[in-house]
């Protein structure tokens, strides 16, 4: 645990569920750590592992991909593809010796604002405990 370390967290949130869940967290005035930035994506199926790699290279300490629950994908199956892709990508990260806990994927629906807060809090805790991500950083940042 590093003193006073605030991780840089990036969320890729599906526009149909988790992004709306984040909107709802706002409407309900829930509260979660400010060090996460949420990027809106059309569907988790759109997530290219390259984006995640890029995020880490640019200094992200943790990446959270969040989409609709299995079976609830707005596009019927995008999240299944994403899940498979993420697993393969995590295996690859693992193989490369990268801390794979820095990348997580969760299902948060448009109504689960409380879950969102919990997920973000927990993820923030985990990454804070792990300290800064130094394995994949570009020299110039």
């Amino acid at each position: 645990m590093s003193e006073g370390f605030t991780p840089n967290l990036i969320g890729f949130f599906c526009q149909w569920c988790s992004y709306l869940g984040a909107d709802l967290a706002g409407t309900n005035r829930l509260c979660y750590p400010a060090n996460i930035k949420i990027i809106r994506i059309p569907c988790t199926g759109r997530i290219d592992p390259q984006f995640i790699l890029r995020a880490f290279l640019n200094g992200a300490d943790g990446v959270l991909v969040s989409g609709c629950h299995p079976g609830d994908c707005h596009y019927t199956a995008g999240n299944y593809f994403a899940r498979r892709r993420m697993q393969v990508f995590k295996d690859l990260l693992n193989f490369m010796g990268f801390d794979q806990e820095r990348l997580i994927m969760t299902w948060i629906s448009a109504s689960e604002s409380k879950k969102l807060v919990k997920v973000v809090e927990q993820f923030n805790e985990t990454i804070t405990r792990m300290g800064p991500q130094k394995q994949l950083v570009l020299p110039t940042r």
Partner: protein
């Protein structure tokens, strides 16, 4: 060279109370290609939009970022705003510094810091935005209405009145929904059948309305403007065209089973219509109980039918309907009180649900309108009503208020008194929710004119003693417990979505909440739309609703659809994929992966005349999910508004 303007909204104190908007605006000027920034109290207001327009004109801006609420609220507002000054709507982005920042973070410095970062991301993305042309897609001017309750019926009639066709798919043998089960209705006490039946006849005879009863949705493909719907018409074993509705078959059929329509308070035959005014007034044979269909014996109904309508060989049938818009009007179910062991868990015969009570007092119900006890057939002299059973209960039921039970309980006390002049009704309630025109007055009448005694408090337990139901409750106003020996207890059970609501939603891509009620696109500004374009909501499938609200919502959904149908072409956001043919290697991966089968292979000849396969996207089928992109090894697919360039730009600025 892009010239971006940044507009930071105060939203009164919603944003400015936490985020230092001036600093955000000042910092924004440092970001790449940002040439202008300002703040305003309410950006979405008319003067706010004028600020944007003026800035675009004065500073020659070609891109804007509005740092305000979520794009889901005002994204469209600002797109329209810049369109009026000649900019493509797609050259705008929003940074959600309200929902994702000022409202969810406590520390002003942190919030300001984050707001700056969010603006940085948005300016990075907008740099890469391009002017897109909206897609014009043809509109099939017919609507599908799923569910033939009062909401579905009303929508269909309104759509038909505007001259368009409406197709109702109803899973039961008859339309009518729950309203057909009710006796009289609050707050006017007119008889449910008297106001519903004419509407049912109207839909049945309206040439613009097609009813597929005893049918269910198998599959829906396509999108707004052109959906294709597969409907399974279940085998009815009675020919809709030949049957005259004479009822002889029902009369003669020897098999009796519990009536679903009468909530097991009576029986029906194996061949039957759910209720006398059914539409269509054609019976169905229940294949699980008919002796002929299960054992090969009987055949009475076929023998007695003079119209020759009974056909034991009938099979399920799949039909296809093409429509341009869909209304979900699937209504509600009732919470099963079995979970309440303290209320007998279904063991006490004289503890019934509110809907069962409606059947009991209904003149065409199982007792011909006599209120009697199921245990001994006696007329109850003391009736206790318990409200909020399964509602407002996070332990055993649902957290929400079911909205209509306060009212129907009041109604039932009035009707009980009208049926049994010397009856005494008691109502256990926690709060009375009677917000509606003449609603509070109605509840007051139940108390003053009909003598219902209202007791504020929940009931803890019911038990049988000496042929009565002992009600152990609390009068919190008195501060003391009360015990009432009741002859009949009526539970106002919670309103819950239809059992199959979730499966149906998954089939058609409707979003729903944690209870499986269907989600409106915006709780205030788009209450009858779903997030999925072209799908609308009516009635109690969205949340507990009474008849006036269901009808209002049904008409609103119909009006929205008529608006959609008023044009030949529909202009929609061109958020679709496209393939750069030159680099496509024809590997077929995307074809297999697209959930909407929007990609197909075509043959192209190159300059040397050689043929090769390339992928092309059918823009009318593509929904813009982007699943195909990461899977293309040659990276030759692009998705409007979420191009790899745009997302990279965002990721690079984190």
């Amino acid at each position: 060279m892009p010239r971006t303007g940044v507009f930071v909204c105060h939203c009164g104190s919603n944003i400015a109370g936490k985020v230092d908007v001036e600093t955000v605006a000042a910092k924004a000027l440092n970001f790449d290609r940002v040439v202008f920034s300002t703040t305003y109290k309410y950006m979405c207001s008319q003067p706010g939009q004028e600020v944007i327009k003026k800035a675009v004109r004065d500073n020659n801006l070609d891109r804007i970022v509005v740092a305000a609420c979520t794009p889901n609220l005002h994204g469209k507002t600002f797109q329209r705003c810049i369109k009026t000054v000649g900019l493509s709507p797609y050259l705008s982005e929003m940074a959600s510094i309200r929902e994702h920042c000022s409202w969810v973070h406590t520390d002003p410095d942190e919030a300001t810091g984050k707001a700056i970062e969010l603006v940085r991301l948005a300016t990075a993305k907008v740099r890469k935005n391009v002017a897109l042309l909206p897609l014009n897609i043809p509109v099939t001017r017919r609507a599908l209405v799923i569910g033939g309750g009062i909401a579905g019926i009303q929508s269909a009639l309104d759509i038909a009145a505007a001259g368009f066709e409406a197709v109702i798919v109803e899973k039961e043998p008859s339309v009518g929904g729950r309203m057909a089960q009710l006796d009289k209705t609050f707050p006017t006490l007119d008889c449910s059948a008297c106001i519903l039946a004419p509407r049912m006849v109207e839909v049945a005879t309206n040439e613009k309305v097609i009813i597929h009863s005893y049918s269910k949705i198998e599959k829906i493909t396509g999108s707004v403007g052109s959906f294709e719907v597969q409907i399974k018409k279940k085998a009815r074993y009675v020919d809709l065209g030949k049957c005259t509705g004479c009822g002889t078959c029902t009369e003669k059929c020897p098999v009796k089973v519990d009536s679903e329509f009468n909530l097991r308070l009576s029986t029906r035959k194996a061949i039957s219509t759910p209720f006398p005014q059914a539409v269509p007034n054609v019976p169905v044979i229940d294949p699980h109980h008919c002796r002929y269909l299960t054992l090969g014996k009987c055949g009475v109904c076929q023998k007695v039918c003079q119209a020759g309508a009974v056909n034991y060989e009938d099979k399920d049938e799949i039909i296809i309907e093409k429509v341009g818009a869909i209304i979900a009007a699937t209504g509600y179910d009732l919470f099963d009180p079995k979970k309440y062991g303290e209320y007998g868990g279904g063991r006490y015969r004289d503890v019934i649900t509110g809907l069962q009570f409606e059947r009991l007092i209904n003149a065409s119900g199982p007792t011909g309108g006599e209120i009697t006890r199921l245990s001994d057939g006696k007329t109850p002299k003391t009736i206790v009503f318990i409200q909020c059973v399964g509602s407002r209960d996070e332990q055993k039921g649902k957290p929400y208020c079911s909205k209509i039970c306060c009212m129907y309980t009041a109604k039932q006390t009035i009707l009980a008194k009208e049926h049994i002049p010397d009856v005494q009704c008691y109502v256990f309630y926690i709060d009375i929710r009677a917000g509606g025109k003449n609603y509070e007055e109605f509840v007051k009448r139940a108390q003053t004119d009909y003598g219902a005694v209202y007791i504020r408090g929940r009931v803890s337990k019911l038990y049988e003693q000496e042929g009565q139901i002992m009600v152990k409750g609390m009068d919190t106003l008195l501060g003391e417990e009360v015990e009432i020996p009741a002859d009949l207890v009526v539970l106002a059970t919670a309103i819950v979505p239809r059992r199959e609501a979730r499966t149906l939603a998954q089939k058609i891509g409707l979003s729903y909440d944690q209870h499986a009620f269907y989600n409106e696109a915006h709780p205030k500004m788009a209450p009858v739309e779903n997030l999925t374009l072209g799908i609308y909501l009516a009635g109690a499938c969205q949340a507990p609703k009474d008849i006036p609200d269901s009808v209002a919502m049904a008409s609103a959904a119909a009006a929205k659809i008529c608006g959609l149908f008023s044009r030949d072409f529909l202009s929609i956001d061109p958020i679709v994929a496209s393939v750069a043919e030159t680099c496509c290697v024809g590997c077929n991966t995307c074809v297999a992966i697209c959930p909407f089968k929007a990609i197909s292979m075509e043959i192209r000849k190159d300059r040397t005349g050689q043929e090769r396969q390339v992928a092309t996207v059918n823009t009318s089928l593509c929904q813009g999910c982007g699943t195909c992109l990461p899977n293309c090894r040659s990276r030759c697919i692009s998705l409007n508004n979420w191009t790899t360039d745009q997302l990279y730009a965002e990721v690079m600025t984190i």
